[in-house]
């Protein structure tokens, strides 16, 4: 069964450093997402991406964040200058089409900012 994959599983970085989180969505999916989950809290939407552009972003997704689909398979989230409060689990998700299609989530990357 196709799955969303994410790398790395755990990333530790120093405050102020740049990090890139990587995702490989399910191959025939067209809509891609990043969510985050601070420990013990609910999952929060960050950004959605379709047709090589951002469809929607939340207030969390400020100028320090960017997304890219550099090739036909990868979908990345970059945080330019990490802050302590960026420490969280970051989940990538994808779905086939627009409308009410199910989003399937990857296993997540745990980001720890020291």
């Amino acid at each position: 069964e196709p799955e969303v994959t994410q790398t790395p599983s755990h990333q530790v970085t120093q405050m102020g450093q740049e990090v890139i989180l990587r995702c490989v969505p399910i191959s025939n999916h067209l809509y891609f997402y990043w969510y985050r989950q601070i420990l013990g809290q609910k999952v929060e939407f960050l950004v959605s991406f379709y047709n090589n552009e951002i469809s929607e972003k939340s207030e969390i997704f400020d100028d320090q964040f960017s997304v890219e689909r550099p090739d036909g398979s990868n979908f990345t989230l970059k945080i330019r200058s990490t802050k302590l409060e960026d420490s969280a689990m970051y989940f990538c998700a994808s779905k086939t089409g627009g409308g009410t299609d199910t989003q399937y989530f990857g296993p997540g990357t745990r980001l720890t900012v020291l």
Binding site: V4, Y31, Y33, Y35, Q41, K42, V43, E44, F45, S48, Y50, S55, E56, S58, F91, G98, G99, T100, T102, Q103, Y104, F105, G106, P107, G108
Partner: protein, 112 residues
């Protein structure tokens, strides 16, 4: 405003009993709802979904009920097993938008 919330943070049930997890939502424009299961250290796993033109949908051991009048969603798990222990989130898709709004989560504990 948009919000999805859960009534109970933790639910403890005896193995073999039925579990009911509840969720309230506030946006009447929501047209699609999903229940996800999240085990420790893992990503949300799709369990079952329901569209706003339905009241009930059944899967294997799980049933989702939607009451649009009171904006309430529930997940029923029949014959709860130890492997069902996890945090359960409801999520709503508002007017087929580009995002899911998640509730706070309910932790289900299954006692042997």
């Amino acid at each position: 405003g948009e919000s999805v919330g859960l009534h109970l943070p933790t639910l403890s049930v005896q193995e073999g009993d039925n579990s009911i997890i509840n969720c309230a939502y506030s946006n009447s424009a929501s047209d699609y709802f999903i229940w996800y299961k999240q085990e420790s250290g893992k990503g949300p796993q799709f369990i079952i979904d329901i569209r706003s033109n339905m009241d009930k949908r059944q899967g294997q051991r799980v049933t989702v009920l939607l009451n649009k009048t009171v904006k309430h969603l529930s997940l029923q798990i029949a014959a709860t097993q130890p492997g069902d222990s996890a945090v359960y989130f409801c999520a709503e898709d508002v007017d087929s938008s580009y995002k899911l709004i998640f509730g706070s989560g309910t932790r289900l504990l299954v006692r042997p």
